[in-house]
């Protein structure tokens, strides 16, 4: 049996022939069971596979809400007699087949009225989304090595996704997906490379998630969907990225690249930024030379290459200006001057610079230059502040030397006076 199935394992059925394909949908909602013999008995069993579910149950969100084992497995939990408690005639199902799991979970989670009683704020379309996902479609075709609900959420000890210990919590979901998607042999069977997670871990998104602990940073599910997981097609890549990078998408839509990429069947953002190993964009990417992204379509001398060179030049000038003034302001600060006004201007310069980088997506020289001009104007103003502060430092030092000279003269005069008096 595959790893996926192992993940989906619930309790091993003691009764023979109980691998029912589909569990009977609960007649109405599963009720709360005050008298529950399942955990009591299973917790005492020697076989760890049978004992583990009982041990995990106490941490399970369902258990905490009063939904006991029978809520999923059926049977009669009020009976202490195993043959009665796990009687298939009473709806008992032991270990679920993978195909049965989405339907079983969906029997409650797709029931909006029922979910209102427990978690009114969570969606109830997981099952319908799952059916459209790559996982769900493959499952429907008979594949048994695809992810079902328990593959990601766990079978027992299910925690809400907001719980940091949940396998689908943002910082853990990547490794949860990796359990299958890093298995090259398994992925190759589905025409997937299997290096996607490894690539993703090189990205700025993963760095934001793990180094800055930014839980809003995109993980696998942010772009591929969670329950409806599927790779975004060429025509939807821009929309996926644009969910967060709204301004860049707006600019891209205005650019001549939009129609050109569509005509060339190029995935919008991915064409320049790649997909999983998305690095921090560098201004040095712009151009048609080796390792520069424009060169993929443009050649030296064409209109695109000329525009790229102009944009690159404007950005470099602005970046150099910002760096130089920042350095000068820093030097003045180290000399003890308060440079808050210059800092604000430098912040404005940086904002304009970021906007220039956003405007690159329009590939319109005038729009980029408008922002780089704003950068130069702000850095020039900050530079004037730095120059004034340097002049002030010189004034203070000159003032100090004049004062010290006056004080020294006064001291000498006093000393001479004392000497003449005491002679």
């Amino acid at each position: 049996m595959t790893r996926q199935l192992a993940n989906a394992t619930l309790a091993i059925l003691l009764a023979a022939g109980a691998r029912a394909a589909v569990p009977p949908a609960p007649a109405g909602a599963p009720g709360k069971h005050a008298d529950d013999s399942c955990i009591g008995c299973h917790a005492k069993l020697d076989d760890v596979r049978l004992r583990k579910p009982a041990e995990l149950a106490t941490a399970d969100i369902h258990h905490a809400q009063g939904i006991s084992c029978a809520g999923c497995h059926g049977g009669d939990p009020t009976s202490g007699d195993p043959t009665v408690a796990m009687d298939p005639r009473k709806g008992f199902v032991g270990k679920f087949a993978p195909r049965a799991i989405p339907e079983m979970c969906g029997s409650c989670h797709s029931n909006a009225a029922y979910m209102l009683r427990y978690a009114p704020n969570i969606p109830t379309d997981q099952l319908s989304q799952y059916r459209t996902s790559k996982h769900g479609l493959a499952l429907a075709k008979g594949a048994t090595d695809v992810a079902v609900c328990s593959s990601c959420h766990g079978a027992h000890g299910v925690r809400p996704p907001s719980d940091a210990r949940s396998p689908v919590y943002p910082t853990r979901v990547v490794d949860t997906c990796a359990r299958c998607h890093a298995d090259v042999a398994l992925m190759n069977r589905y025409g997937i490379k299997g290096n996607e997670v490894e690539e993703y871990k090189k990205s700025v998104h993963y760095a934001a998630l793990t180094e800055k602990n930014d839980l809003s940073a995109p993980t696998c599910k942010s772009c591929h969907g969670a329950h409806g997981a599927t790779p975004p097609g060429v025509d939807s890549v821009a929309n996926v990225c644009g969910t967060c990078h709204v301004s860049q998408l707006e600019r891209f839509d205005l650019s001549p690249h939009k129609d050109a990429f569509t005509a060339m069947d190029q995935p919008a953002c991915e064409a320049c930024h790649s997909n999983h190993a998305i690095g921090h964009p560098q201004d040095s990417w712009i151009g048609v030379a080796d390792k520069q992204v424009c060169g993929a379509c443009h050649s030296a001398g064409d209109a695109g290459a000329v525009a790229a060179a102009t944009i690159s030049g404007a950005l470099s000038k602005a970046a150099a200006s910002e760096a130089a003034v920042r350095e000068r302001v820093g030097r003045v600060k180290r000399a003890g001057m308060l440079m808050d006004a210059a800092d604000i201007k430098l912040e404005e310069a940086h904002q304009s610079y970021v906007m220039a980088e956003v405007e690159i997506h329009t590939v319109t020289v005038a729009r980029v230059e408008k922002q780089t001009q704003a950068v130069l104007a702000a850095t020039s103003a900050a530079d004037k502040d730095a120059a004034a502060a340097e002049a002030e430092i010189r004034f203070r030092r000159t003032g100090l030397f004049v004062s010290l000279a006056v004080i020294a003269v006064a001291m000498v005069t006093l000393a001479l006076k004392i000497r003449s008096m005491e002679r």
């Binding site: 003890g336 006004a341 003032g399 006064a410 001291m411 006093l414 000393a415 004392i418």
Partner: protein
Amino acid sequence: MRALDKLWQALDERLELDPIVEFVAHKVVPRHRHSWAYYFGGFTMFFFFVQVATGILLLLYYRPTAEAAFESVQFIVTRVPFGWLVRSVHSWSANLMILSAFAHMFSVYFMGSYAKPRELTWWSGFALLGLAMGFGFSGYLLPWNQLSFFATQVGTDMVSKVPFAGAWLLKFLRGGNEVTGATLTRFFGFHVAVLPMLTALLLAGHLAFIQRQGMHVPASLEEEAKKRKPIRFVPNFMLREGVVWLLGLAALAALAAFFPWELGIKADPFSSAPAGIKPEWYFLFMFETLKLLPAHLLGIEGELLGLGAFALGGLVWFLVPVLDRGGRVGRRSRAFLALGWVVLAYIVGFTFASFAGVFK
């Protein structure tokens, strides 16, 4: 000159100034190999005068509220003409004043000048040093920056350890349970009204005692002092003191110009305490000692025990004129001399070790 003479005559007729003139004309300062120690008191007073003058100038722009304090200091140092100089001189002068006061105290101690009949001078000086440290503690918070905010939180928290009255004292100092704008307002009140008033009164007393009793000459230097011609107070000693004061002024100008006092970043009560919070340097020896103490010692809270020990140590130091019986007849005990060196070594050692990062 005739006008001045007439004015003097008029005043003399009314106030009988002759005895004062007589007193001043005959006032002398003994001359011996440790006469330099006599300048520290006046040097401390010079920095106090600088504090008063620069403090008044800062008052013209400073606003003592949590919302405006930081911005007003920022305004002073960036927009007000020579505001940077006034603020920087105020901060540096405060530190030099305390340094000079410590030097004055230890020189007095080692010369045994605290002994009878000068107990009152010692006690008033002790209280003046306490007030100076109070000035420092209250003034530290006034710019309302991150470091001073959290250092004040730690500092005021110590009074809560005082048995019985701790909770009340903490509330009194902070104006509530936490360091807030209310704390700033009352620290401002202490800094510009209560402490200056007490200092002025005590300083007047301290100076009056010195004038009345004259400078003390240690027994071991009496012979030398008798042999050498004393320095006339007016104008010789005053002019010499003037040279020293000018030296202090030059030091202040250089420090303010080359090392302007930092402002830091505005206090944010909701942020976590920044790393490396430290009080002003003159509290470091106590701060580091308290940090070294274990949480509990002999069944008592370590910090409480430490504060108790400091209180006891302070009391012994205060009562030295009474405890050092030999000092009254010019034969001070070796034990008290040793105590002075131990205390000096402890304060200097811990302060430098703290700056060197030994206690990190």
